[in-house]
């Protein structure tokens, strides 16, 4: 099936209660499949007037205690950030599936990895989010389910950062009932509409995102930041291949990591000591794991369909290390294994 179909099935399997959405390519088929399935499984859907509304309605859905989600891309992701900033401030477990397309502006409806910055750090805040970057349909399924669990467990807005290729390509996928695999869905609890007469049997829930004093905001933020830092080791995920003796470490995320891995296989077949590292979570970023691997390598190559968005994260995470970092940076372009191998040789990285 296509990746968009995978996401719809994953949301269904995760027990998502309601989706709010607004059409944008290449995300549309997530809504198409969801709206076909939703009535059969008693799930909700609302097509809103724009992504601002879709984002805020998702906020409303989680406030009401439901596993609510939305999906978007590109310019829609920009509009979505307003509501996600509110979710970040108020610790609301929203789930957003992003299918990256070319940018900036309308650009292409096809594909890119240019929404990394926006998804990890969008909004007027500190980027207290969880961002998963799957690379296959099996992972798209798994991490969409996981996104709901991480969101509700840790209470930070959670994103599945896919892309147009993953949305549109067809490849085999195994879908499953999470229970059957021993995955227990994190329970949801409402933040408004609680039982009991407010003011008499309990205090009313008075939820706000506005504060009066610098100090007051600082305290709220630092509490959230410390919690984020505390949970980061539990959340952070990565994938490696042939890293133990790697002289060249190729770093990529999402669909591009497939090409990076294939390039490493191809280089290894010809006797070159290449290895591969993939951050599965872009936020939090697995810098601690990457550091010793990078320190051992002679060269690092960051490969991405963007102009340095991942590379910047890598360099920030490895600050102080002397291993040179090169980028094969192709904003908005798909990347094949052959290109990477060719680049490695052309730049004499190995």
């Amino acid at each position: 099936m296509t990746g968009n179909e995978v996401v719809a099935w994953a949301a269904l399997a995760a027990g998502a209660d309601i989706m709010y959405g607004y059409p944008i390519t290449p995300q549309n088929e997530i809504m198409h499949y969801w709206t076909r399935m939703a009535p059969k499984y008693e799930r909700g859907f609302l097509q809103t007037e724009d992504e601002i509304s879709a984002g805020f309605a998702t906020v409303g859905g989680v406030l009401a205690g439901k596993r609510a989600f939305t999906a978007t891309a590109g310019p829609g992701n920009i509009l979505m950030q307003e509501a996600m900033a509110m979710a970040e401030m108020m610790r609301l477990p929203t789930v957003v599936v992003v299918t990256q397309r070319g940018g900036p502006s309308t650009a292409t409806v096809i594909y890119s990895q240019q929404e990394l910055n926006l998804t990890c750090f969008g909004g007027n805040g500190e980027g207290l989010r969880i961002v998963y970057s799957p690379s296959s349909h099996d992972e798209l399924f798994l991490y969409t389910i996981k996104a709901f669990n991480s969101a509700w467990k840790y209470r930070f807005p959670t994103f599945v950062l896919g892309d147009g290729y993953q949305s549109k390509m067809r490849e085999p996928v195994t879908i499953f009932d999470p229970e059957a695999r021993g995955i227990t869905m994190e329970p949801c609890r409402p933040m408004v509409g609680l039982s009991g007469l407010p003011g008499e049997e309990r205090d009313p829930a008075h939820l706000r995102n506005t504060y009066n004093l610098e100090d007051e905001l600082y305290e709220v933020l630092m509490t959230a930041i410390k919690e984020y830092e505390a949970i980061a080791p539990q959340v952070v995920e990565w994938d490696t291949y042939a890293v133990d003796d790697a002289e060249l470490l190729i770093i990529a995320h999402g669909v591009v990591s497939r090409a990076a891995r294939a390039a490493v296989v191809s280089l290894r077949e010809r006797g070159f000591k290449a290895g591969y590292f993939r951050p599965v979570t872009l936020k939090p970023f697995p810098a601690e794991t990457l550091r010793p691997l990078a320190a051992r390598a002679r060269n690092l190559l960051v490969v991405e369909s963007a102009y340095g968005q991942l590379k910047r994260q890598v360099q920030a995470g490895l600050y102080g290390l002397e291993t040179p970092v090169t980028g094969y940076l192709r904003p908005g372009m798909g990347i094949t294994p052959e290109e990477i191998v060719e680049f490695v040789h052309a730049k004499e990285l190995i």
């Binding site: 509304s53 509110m86 829930a205």
Partner: protein, 264 residues
């Protein structure tokens, strides 16, 4: 001990956060009193969710013994629509100023009206952006001085005031309830709001109530001039009354059509 007669607070008001922090002469307290009385009358405190916007309306974030969420500027209706769609048994009240309703959040109002969302929207119209210091609002009257129209609003350059209830009445499908009340008639205003809540309880459609209100702080008016502006100047432009009852169809062009689709 002699106690001065205190006006009765609605039951749903939260005593711990009173007296409230609105300016002297502000209309918010009166609108929130009308809302409180309407909630009391319908006995829906336990299942009502109150949402407030940015602007002076946010000062009501801890006003009631109601589960409350303070949202972003113009975004209160989408949040509450999101809640309502997820939990239809709840009663949701979306409370905001004219800037949130008619400028930055206008698309949400238009779309909620078209969808006949089961939400009760209350818009406090005081003709200015008050929290930010008295700039021109979508409802500023032609000729009215504000901080961004220091020589008076020139309708040729900045348009005419938006008629919110008229807009909603024109486009909302049958089942909608639309009215404009005024703080100058709290009994009528409470009645309108109560009907608006009732409309949601009965699942008939959207309820939209605009309340003409006052902002002496930004109008720089004394009590007499404040009331004069609300009762004479504002009502001349914004007529008070019910614009739509649930039995009526939209005032704009509208034709009831059966569901239809493409021949397959």
């Amino acid at each position: 001990m002699a106690i001065a007669a205190q006006p009765q607070m609605p039951r749903v008001w939260r005593a711990e956060t009173k007296p409230h922090k609105f300016c002297p002469g502000c209309g918010h307290g009166i609108v929130l009193k009308a809302l409180g009385e309407a909630i009391d009358a319908l006995d829906i405190q336990e299942r009502t969710i109150f949402g407030c916007d940015i602007g002076c309306s946010l000062l009501s974030w801890d006003f009631f013994n109601l589960d409350t969420v303070q949202t972003h500027h113009g975004r209160t209706t989408p949040v509450l629509v999101g809640i309502k769609r997820a939990r239809p048994e709840l009663v949701v009240v979306s409370y905001m100023g004219d800037g949130g309703a008619y400028a930055i959040g206008a698309q949400h109002l238009v779309s909620s009206a078209s969808r006949n969302d089961l939400v009760t929207i209350i818009v406090v119209n005081n003709t200015v952006y008050a929290m930010t210091g008295g700039q021109m609002a979508p409802t500023t009257l032609p000729g009215q001085k504000t901080e961004t129209t220091p020589y008076g609003r020139d309708a040729r350059l900045t348009g005419r005031p938006i008629l919110g209830p008229e807009l909603v009445a024109a486009i909302a499908p049958p089942g909608a309830y639309v009215a404009r009340g005024s703080i100058a008639n709290i009994v009528q205003l409470k009645n309108f709001i109560q009907k608006g809540l009732q409309n949601q309880l009965e699942g008939r459609g959207i309820a939209f109530i605009e309340a003409l209100s006052s902002c002496p702080t930004n109008w720089h008016t004394n009590a007499a001039a404040t009331w004069g502006f609300v009762e004479k100047e504002m009502t001349a432009y914004f007529p008070v009354g019910e614009l739509r009852t649930p039995e009526e169809g939209p005032s704009g062009r509208f034709q009831e059509v059966p569901a239809r689709g493409f021949q397959s």
